[in-house]
C-alpha cells in the first residue's frame, strides 16, 4: 500500500516518516490516512476557524471537545453542535441522513447531555433526482429522530442547481445536563479500561465518510463505495440510555463517541486529549462479520457505538447498567502511561503509534488574513435592478416559490412535540422550548441563507450570524453560543479557499460585533462533483436563554386595529440576492449587512419586552416584507386581515428586499410611540399598515391590491399555481 492509496500527500508522508523515525506499516498508514484526512484533521480550515471568538460569559466548553457547552442558568448546562452528513446522504439519502442524526446525537451524549431537540438545515438541487433525494433525506431524519424520541423542532431548506449532486444535510442537536454531570474526553487515566459499547462492528463505511469527504466526488471514486452504514435508532436509544446512566454515576474517566474513522479516531483523540497511551486488543472487539482484519476493525464506521473509559475499581458499578439496557459491550483494552497507541490482535502487535502524531501533527493550511482584508474592503457592486410597477402575480409567485413556501410537507414528517417541551415548533421562525424545573427556556434557531453567500461569501457569513442573533433578539433571549456548519468545495482550489476565507471572516466579524461566541461546529469540504462546487454555505445554529418561554413574544397580530410597524436599519432597499430577483432577473450580490445599525435594532427589540406591554414581532426574511406579512396573516385568527401601504414608486423594492435587519412589529396604537422611542438614531421605524376586520391582505401601492386569504393560503401551502 502506498501513501497515495490512503489519500496522503508526499509532504504529509515525509512528516509521518520523520516523526515516527521509520516507515509506517500498512495498518499504520491506514490510520494516518483517515486521521489526516480533511474530515478528521480540519487541515484546510483549522487556521481559518481560529478567527472565530470562543469566549463568552456563558461558555463552559468551547471548541475542541465533542460538542460545545454553555450555561443556561446556575443549574443547567446546554450542549449543542451541528454536524454535516452530505456525501453519505447523496449516496444513500435515507441512511445517510439517518446516520447523520445518530452521529450528532452521540456527540452531545458523549458530553453527558440528554438530547432535547434536533434541528436540520438542508440544501437540495433542482433537477429530477433532487426530489427523490429530498424525500429520502427527510424520511431518514424523521426515521431516526422520531424513533429515538428526540423532537426536530426547527430547521430550514433551500434550493439551487449547485446542490444537484451535492445536497447538504446539516443537523444540530441540543441537550441538557445538570451542572455536575459533565464529562469529556480528557480524563482517561492509566490503568483504566477501554469499554466499547453498542452495535457489533461490521465492514460498514470502511474508508467511507472520512476519505470520501476528503475527496471530490466523481466517477473516479465510484468504485470506492463502501458498504453503506445503516442507522439503528433502536440501538441508538438503548446506547443513549446506557451511556447517560453510566455518566450519571460520576464513575467514568472519559467518554468518546465513535464517528467518522471509527475506533481509530475515537481512541487516538481520546488519548491525545488525555495525554496518555492505550493498548487495544482487537480480538475483544465484537464483530458482526467473520474474518475481519485489524485494518477493517480499526476503520469501520459502524454506527451506534460509544467508548467509555472506566477504572477497574469503578467498572463493577457500571457493568450492570450497561447490561440493564441490553447493550452489547466489551472491554477492549487499557489506558497506559506511555504515549503509544498499541494495537494488538491475539498477542501480535499490529501497530504502534504515538497518539500525538496521529491526532496532533497533521500540517494545516495557513490562513490568509490579507485575503480576508481584501474581501472586507471589496464591497461588491450592487446592480440597480429597479422594476417599477407592482404586479400581484409576481407577489404570489414569490410566496409560492420553493424558497418561500410552507415547509409542512417536510416538518410534519418529524415528531416535533415529543418530550412535551415544544412551546414553539416548526410553524415559527425559531423554536422555543420550556425546560422542566427551570424558569428559563431555550430559544433555538438555525439558518444559513446560501443565496447571500453565492456572490459574496463575506456578506453571506455576516447575514447568517445576523439572522439567528436577530431571531433570538426578537424574543428578548440571550444568545448563549453559536455553532457553525461550514460547507464548501475543494479547498485546494484557490477560488474555493478564498470563498472559505470570506465566509469564515464574515462569521467571525459578525460574532465579534454581536459579542457572541462560537463553541463548536463542523466543516465539510470537497462538496463538488466533476469540478462543479456548491455555493460556500454556512449554517449557523444559535442557542439562547429565553426568559419567558411559556409566553413567547407573538409573531403575528391578534386584534383588529393593531398598528403594523416596519423597522429598518437604513440604507438602500436593494433586491440583491432576493427571491424576487432570482425569479425575475438574475442573482446579483447581496447588500453587505450594516452590522452596527443592525446591532442597535436588536438592542431595541431586546428592550421592548420590558418597556412595552404587549406586541408581536416577526423578522423579514426570504421573500421580503410581502412574504413576512402573509405568514403573519395566515397565523392570525381567520376573521382578521391586514392592510399595508408602500410608496408607489418604490413598491417592489420595499415589498421584496431581503436586506438584513428588517422586522415587522405589531402593536397597539397607544404603544407605538414608545416603541419608536426605543429605536436609536438612524434606525427607521414606520407605521405601514394596520390589522383589519376583513380576513384578507390589502397592499396599497398607489392603487389597492387585494389578496384573498384562501388564495394566499393555497399558494403558500402548495406553491404558485398549485
Amino acid at each position: 500500500m502506498n501513501f497515495r492509496d490512503v489519500g496522503l500527500t508526499q509532504e504529509e508522508f515525509e512528516i509521518i516518516q520523520s516523526q515516527l523515525g521509520r516507515n509506517p506499516n500498512d495498518l499504520e498508514l491506514g490510520l494516518f490516512g483517515v486521521l489526516w484526512s480533511e474530515h478528521c484533521s480540519y487541515k484546510s480550515s483549522k487556521s481559518l476557524l481560529s478567527w472565530l471568538p470562543h469566549e463568552g460569559r456563558a461558555v463552559v466548553q468551547g471548541p475542541g471537545e465533542n460538542a460545545g457547552v454553555v450555561a443556561l442558568n446556575d443549574r443547567l448546562h446546554v450542549a449543542f453542535k451541528v454536524e454535516s452528513h452530505n456525501h453519505p446522504s447523496y449516496v444513500e439519502p435515507v441512511q445517510g441522513a439517518a446516520t447523520g442524526v445518530g452521529g450528532i446525537l452521540r456527540d452531545i451524549i458523549a458530553m453527558g447531555a440528554r438530547p432535547v431537540a434536533l434541528a436540520d438545515s438542508l440544501r437540495f438541487g433542482t433537477d429530477n433526482s433532487a426530489a427523490i433525494i429530498q424525500n429520502g433525506v427527510v424520511e431518514g431524519i424523521g426515521r431516526y429522530g422520531n424513533a429515538i424520541g428526540i423532537p426536530t423542532v426547527t430547521g430550514e431548506v433551500a434550493y439551487s442547481s449547485v446542490y444537484d449532486k451535492n445536497p447538504l444535510v446539516n443537523v444540530m442537536a441540543v441537550g441538557l445536563l445538570p451542572l455536575d454531570r459533565g464529562v469529556n474526553a480528557q480524563g482517561a487515566r492509566p490503568g483504566s479500561y477501554l469499554v466499547l459499547l453498542g452495535q457489533p462492528t461490521g465492514r460498514d463505511g470502511i474508508h467511507g465518510a472520512s476519505l470520501l469527504a476528503s475527496q471530490d466526488f466523481g466517477d473516479a471514486t465510484e468504485h470506492m463505495r463502501p458498504t453503506v452504514q445503516v442507522g439503528d435508532p433502536f440501538m441508538g436509544k438503548m446506547l443513549m440510555e446506557a451511556t447517560l446512566a453510566a455518566i450519571a454515576t460520576h464513575k467514568l474517566d472519559a467518554v468518546q463517541d465513535l464517528g467518522a474513522a471509527g475506533l481509530t479516531s475515537s481512541v487516538a483523540e481520546l488519548c491525545y486529549r488525555s495525554g496518555v497511551g492505550a493498548t487495544i486488543r482487537l480480538e475483544e472487539v465484537p464483530c458482526r462479520e467473520q474474518g475481519m482484519t485489524p485494518y477493517e476493525i480499526m476503520l469501520s464506521e459502524t454506527q451506534e457505538r460509544m467508548l467509555l473509559v472506566v477504572s477497574p475499581d469503578n467498572w463493577p458499578g457500571i457493568e450492570p447498567i450497561v447490561q440493564h439496557w441490553e447493550v452489547p459491550y466489551s472491554v477492549i483494552g487499557e489506558i497506559m502511561d506511555e504515549p503509544h497507541l498499541v494495537i494488538t490482535m491475539r498477542g501480535d502487535i499490529h501497530a504502534m503509534v504515538p497518539p500525538e502524531i496521529l491526532a496532533g501533527s497533521c500540517p494545516s493550511r495557513p490562513a490568509r488574513s490579507e485575503w480576508a482584508n481584501e474581501i472586507r474592503q471589496n464591497v461588491p457592486h450592487l446592480t440597480s435592478f429597479r422594476p417599477l410597477t407592482f404586479d400581484p402575480e409576481q407577489a404570489l409567485a414569490v410566496l409560492g416559490s420553493v424558497d418561500c413556501r410552507s415547509r409542512h410537507r417536510i416538518f410534519e414528517r418529524y415528531d416535533s412535540m415529543i418530550l412535551a417541551n415544544t412551546v414553539w415548533g416548526p410553524l415559527h421562525d425559531l423554536a422555543i422550548l420550556r425546560t422542566k424545573g427551570s424558569k428559563e427556556g431555550l430559544a433555538i434557531a438555525l439558518s444559513g441563507p446560501g443565496r447571500y453567500a453565492a456572490r459574496d461569501p463575506y456578506s453571506g457569513g455576516l447575514a447568517a450570524v445576523s439572522r439567528v442573533v436577530g431571531l433570538l433578539a426578537a424574543q428578548g433571549a440571550d444568545v448563549l453560543g453559536l455553532t457553525d456548519g461550514i460547507n464548501a468545495g475543494n479547498p485546494d482550489k484557490e477560488r474555493v479557499f478564498r470563498e472559505l476565507t470570506g465566509l469564515i471572516a464574515g462569521v467571525a466579524d459578525a460574532c465579534n460585533i454581536f459579542a457572541v461566541p462560537v463553541t463548536g461546529g463542523n466543516v465539510s469540504l470537497h462538496n463538488e462533483t466533476e469540478g462543479d462546487s456548491i455555493w460556500p454555505t454556512v449554517v449557523i445554529g444559535a442557542v439562547g436563554r429565553h426568559h419567558h418561554p411559556l409566553e413567547p413574544v407573538p409573531d403575528s397580530p391578534w386584534q383588529e386595529g393593531m398598528d403594523i410597524v416596519r423597522i429598518y436599519p437604513g440604507g438602500d432597499w436593494s433586491l440583491g440576492a432576493s427571491v424576487f430577483e432570482l425569479l425575475f432577473s438574475q442573482l446579483s450580490a447581496y447588500p453587505r449587512p450594516d452590522l452596527e445599525r443592525i446591532r442597535r435594532v436588536y438592542q431595541a427589540l431586546d428592550e421592548a419586552w420590558n418597556k412595552i406591554p404587549s406586541y408581536g414581532v416577526r423578522m423579514i426574511g426570504a421573500g421580503g416584507l410581502f412574504v413576512a406579512a402573509t405568514k403573519a396573516l395566515l397565523a392570525m385568527p381567520a376573521s382578521l386581515g391586514m392592510e399595508i401601504s408602500v410608496s408607489p414608486d418604490d413598491a417592489v423594492r420595499q415589498l421584496f428586499s431581503e436586506v438584513s435587519g428588517q422586522f415587522l412589529i405589531f402593536c397597539d396604537p397607544q404603544a407605538t410611540p414608545r416603541l419608536m422611542e426605543l429605536l436609536g438614531p438612524g434606525i427607521a421605524g414606520e407605521i405601514i399598515g394596520s390589522v383589519t376586520p376583513d380576513s384578507n391582505l390589502v397592499i396599497r401601492a398607489g392603487r389597492a391590491h387585494r389578496f384573498e386569504r384562501t388564495k394566499l393560503d393555497r399558494t403558500f401551502r402548495f406553491g404558485y399555481g398549485g
Binding site: 449516496v91 444513500e92 441512511q95 452495535q199 461490521g202 465492514r203 460498514d204 463505495r225 458498504t227 453503506v228 452504514q229 445503516v230 439503528d232 433502536f234 440501538m235 458482526r288 462479520e289 459502524t302
Partner: protein, 82 residues
Amino acid sequence: MTYDVVVNVSLKEAVLDPAGQQVARVLHNMGYAMEDVRIGKQIKLRFQAADLTEAKENARQMAEKLLANPVLETYEILVTEP
C-alpha cells in the same frame, strides 16, 4: 399477455439488518434456537407483456430502477408462466 412476476428484494449480506436482529432476539426469547433472521420484501407484480422474454426484461428493469436500492439491496426475479 398477463404475467405474474415475483421480485424478492433482500439486503446485501454485509449490510446491517436491525429489524432482523430484533426479530431474532424476540424469537430466541420465545424459545427458538435462532441463528439469524433477515427481513426482505416480496413484491408481486402483475403486468402485460408481449412474451416471457419481455416480461422478464421488464421485471429486471423495474427491480433495477425502482424496486431495489442498488446501494443496499439485491433482488431475484421469479416468473410464473401464464
